[in-house]
């Protein structure tokens, strides 16, 4: 009988909605008073969450509830919020409150009122109710339709009811889409890898903290970093670009300048200001592969950039700001590097909050077949021609590829190379047994030789940084890599020369030698104009 004798409500005092002075307060809807005025809703206990500075308002609301509903016992709970819009703080306080109040759902029919409080508070109440920290149903109240009355409407929402399955289904669907994106649409079969992707799909959109991807070379760290970027961009969590750099390729003197930029004249050869990769990644995602290769000075500077979101370009006395999501990749045991004194312990602590270990291809060999199909698709799409295995060839290739003799030292990078070779050789668009036999010999020979060189990223990154000096990020992102290389070279040339004509002469020297007359300056002007650039602008921004 205790339970049927009315509800217990947890509700925020509505610092604006519940307000009202004098008799006028009886002429408009005040949600917390109104809850207690409904003829078909009996509130036995009303717990009002209140900040101390609103004591006066609380007193009035409590008195008015006592008048309109003598059946209701009003209790005050002080919730001291420094910032009622701070998600973490509000969640924390409400979580604590749910512990302190220790409701027993057997004794009390609890309702959590969602209509008052900041939106942040409403979200936190929802979450705590959904997770049963408040063993409650949600109470939603609204103003009277057409302003006829002052009591308004109420509705109880039970999150356990099946009609919310559809809502839950939509969330599940979105998670599935996110997971599929992270897996590039590949129907992977390895349970451990799928679990890793599921976790990553939850972590990546929810966190801006650095992510550490561990795994052997070719395991797909770079590919996955790109996918995380795509996922966050799709959910509108990033606006900036994806910047990728392999730290192994920027060791030595240029490393600091490549990452953090420099002032013109900072060192011999520093002819212009350079923004650096961290600055370029502002608002976007920076993937630092092989982070274990980073020098001690750069490690210190990177740590500062992560903690303060600001750092000092070489030769500059002014700090610059950049806010980016960091993903670090490593194929080394960074714990060991810390023990040897080659990697900073505090930096490791900062970047391994979320660590994902990517298995090599051999450790998820059941995923080889779907990845093979993916690579075939990718090649077909790239060259615009369908390539496929004959049935026999496919069986033979898979037999070898999944056998213990296939070492896959370079992991997915090896598979990608292998498929590219097979497709290129399959002139008719059909990969035969013969080509597969040859490919097997080649792969085995490669693995015997052992050791792989890493691809170079530096030139590519330098081109992009140069272009960012004259064009916006969006424009650069819209230019094909093919054209970026050319445009970067043209920009460099313009900056070397004093005039459009002089630059034109160098750029079109070969044509010039063949023909008697040619208008080099006009050709160059037209080329620059295609990108919305002109010589003056390009040269001036040096």
């Amino acid at each position: 009988m205790a339970k049927s004798a009315g509800h217990t409500v947890v509700s925020f005092l509505g610092v604006s909605l519940d307000r009202g002075a004098g008799r006028e307060r009886w002429e408009h809807w005040r949600p917390n008073v109104s809850i207690c005025q409904h003829e078909d809703l009996l509130i036995k206990r009303m717990i009002l969450l209140c900040e101390r500075r609103y004591s006066k308002l609380y007193d009035q609301i409590a008195a008015d509830i006592a008048t309109v509903s003598p059946e209701t016992v009003v209790e005050r709970r002080d919730v001291a919020l420094r910032d009622p819009w701070d998600f973490e703080e509000v969640f924390d306080k409400l979580f604590q409150l749910s512990r302190d109040l220790a409701f027993d759902p057997e004794d009390e029919d609890l309702l959590v009122h969602m209509t008052t409080g900041t939106h942040v508070a409403q979200i936190c109440l929802f979450l705590l109710t959904e997770t049963r920290h408040f063993p409650a149903r949600l109470l939603q109240t609204g103003p009277p339709p057409g302003n006829q009355d002052i009591v308004g409407t109420w509705q109880i929402i039970d999150l356990d009811l099946s009609r919310f399955d559809r809502l839950a289904q939509r969330f599940a669907q979105e998670h599935q889409q996110g997971e599929s994106l992270l897996k590039s649409g590949i129907a992977t079969r390895n349970a451990a890898f799928n679990e890793l992707i599921t976790q990553m799909e939850r972590v990546a959109p929810a966190s801006t903290a650095p992510i550490l991807l561990m795994g052997p070379t070719g395991a797909g760290k770079s590919h996955l970093a790109r996918r995380i970027y795509d996922l966050k961009k799709q959910r509108h969590q990033l606006v900036g670009p994806f910047i990728e750099v392999n730290c192994a390729t920027i060791r030595g003197d240029s490393a600091h300048s490549t990452l953090f930029g420099h002032k013109r004249g900072a060192f011999t050869g520093a002819l212009q200001d350079r923004a650096g990769l961290l600055r370029a990644a502002n608002g976007g995602l920076l993937f630092l592969d092989e982070i274990g290769e980073l020098g001690a000075d750069e490690q210190a500077m990177l740590l500062r950039a992560l903690e303060e979101k600001r750092f000092l370009p070489l030769g500059s006395d002014k700090e610059v700001e950049s806010d980016f999501q960091l993903i670090a990749g490593t194929n080394r045991d960074l714990g060991g590097a810390v023990a040897r004194g080659t990697f900073r312990e505090d930096l490791l602590a900062r970047i391994n909050l979320w660590t994902f270990r990517l298995p090599g291809l051999r450790d998820r060999i059941e995923d080889l077949e779907p990845n093979l199909d993916y690579e075939l698709e990718r090649y077909s799409a790239k060259v615009g021609r369908r390539v496929h295995f004959s049935a026999e060839a496919r069986r033979r290739y898979l037999d070898f590829a999944t056998s213990s003799g296939a070492l896959w030292r370079g992991n997915f990078r090896d598979l990608n190379g292998s498929v590219t070779r097979l497709c290129t050789l399959a002139a008719s668009g059909r990969i035969t047994e013969e080509e597969v036999r040859g490919e097997i010999v080649r792969l085995e020979a490669d693995w015997l030789r052992d050791g792989h060189g890493a691809p170079e990223h530096v030139a590519m990154v330098d081109d992009d940084l140069l272009l960012l000096e004259v064009l916006s990020e969006e424009v650069v992102a819209g230019i094909d890599r093919f054209d970026r290389v050319q445009l970067a070279e043209v920009v460099r040339c313009c900056r070397r020369h004093r005039s459009l004509s002089a630059a034109g002469r160098e750029l079109f020297a070969a044509s010039r030698a063949k023909r008697a007359t040619t208008n080099d300056a006009d050709r160059l002007r037209k080329y620059l104009a295609r990108f919305g650039l002109d010589y003056e602008g390009v040269a001036a921004s040096r």
Binding site: R23, H38, E39, T67, S69, E71
Partner: protein, 337 residues
């Protein structure tokens, strides 16, 4: 154990209140089903629950199904107790209806009682306090029962919070007959206001003067103490032995002229009918007359509300109501079975 169908007749709270009152008087347990069946939100509402709990207190009753939305209730009184009671009710419920529920029992108890009531005193769809004071209590007195009333604070919708007190002396019932008017009807108006602009009452008074030819000294305007804003127009119609009271409530969005105009309309209808007992008093007289085991009155066409009430009373008490048309009016008579 009596079994009642809550959907009979009008199917509102009246069946429940009458059943509770007479169950206490007779000690008869009852079970009622289909309470407010077919309504948008069926079952007990808060004001009904308050009535059930008040009756349970007075009769020391065991109750099952006393919850909001419950469509089934079982009520078993153990013993009627005179005493000092206090019932507080939310703004949407009327305190006069709560008193109406327990009054038959306390009038039949073995000693005097007091009931302190907190809540609405002038609510829509319920007799206002002034009705009890000017129309109902005097008739009870003539029937041998004592009902003393004093009001401290008025309570209007939506704030509520009125306070008043009823002193009840058990009855030595005497049947009465109210069949004709004596002399010219005496009209007296009382307009009460709280926390609203004074022109509202002035305009209502003007309307009553214009429509009913009332003199200024026949209208009283009172500013009353109340937790929230409110306004009521009450008109007493004295027919010699008996007084009826018609009333209207001010509300947001309703013009003062319309509030007073509706009161005037109802008064004119009653004046034309040439009967001593109006619709409101007719409804309230059924239980006391049944308890007195006799009596008769002439009134207007009985409402469905009144007919349903009579049916419920007949199930608890050994009486029978006769309602028949009589020279352009209706004669309602109660007899012992």
């Amino acid at each position: 154990m009596l079994f009642l169908d809550g959907s009979m007749g009008e199917g509102g709270g009246q069946v429940l209140r009458t059943a509770l009152g007479l169950s206490l008087v007779t000690g008869t347990a009852f079970s009622i089903e289909k309470i407010r069946a077919g309504r948008e939100k069926p079952g007990l509402k808060r004001q009904h629950l308050t009535a059930v709990l008040a009756a349970a207190e007075v009769g020391d009753a065991a109750v099952e199904g006393a919850a909001i939305g419950s469509q089934r209730l079982t009520f078993k009184p153990k013993g009627l107790r005179a005493g000092d009671y206090r019932f507080a009710i939310g703004s949407a419920g009327s305190t006069t209806l709560v008193l109406q529920t327990v009054l038959p029992a306390l009038l039949s108890a073995n000693g005097p009682s007091t009931v302190e009531l907190v809540g609405g005193t002038h609510n829509p769809l319920a007799p206002p306090f002034d009705f009890l004071q000017h129309a109902f209590a005097p008739v009870l007195h003539r029937m041998g029962a004592g009902l003393g009333l004093e009001i401290h604070k008025h309570g209007f919708y939506p704030a509520g919070g009125g306070q008043w007190r009823a002193t009840i002396t058990p009855a030595a019932w005497q049947p009465i007959e109210l069949l004709t008017r004596l002399g010219e009807p005496q009209l007296r108006a009382r307009i009460v206001s709280a926390k609203i602009p004074s022109h509202v009452a002035q305009r209502e008074a003007s309307m009553l003067r214009a429509r009913l030819k009332l003199r200024a000294d026949e209208i009283t305007i009172d500013e009353v103490a109340s937790p929230g804003p409110g306004n009521a127009v009450m008109l007493r119609l004295g027919f010699g032995e008996v007084t009826e009271l018609v009333s209207g409530l001010g509300d947001r969005g309703i013009r003062a002229e319309d509030v007073a105009g509706n009161v005037a309309n109802e008064a004119e209808e009653l004046l034309t009918a040439n009967v001593p007992v109006g619709e409101h008093l007719a409804d309230q007289l059924l239980i006391p007359m049944a308890l007195a085991r006799g009596g008769a009155f002439r009134t207007m066409t009985p409402s469905l509300h009144t007919r349903t009430n009579a049916q419920v009373i007949e199930q608890f008490l050994p009486v029978q109501f006769a309602m028949r048309e009589d020279a352009g009016a209706w004669r309602i008579e109660v007899q012992s079975r």
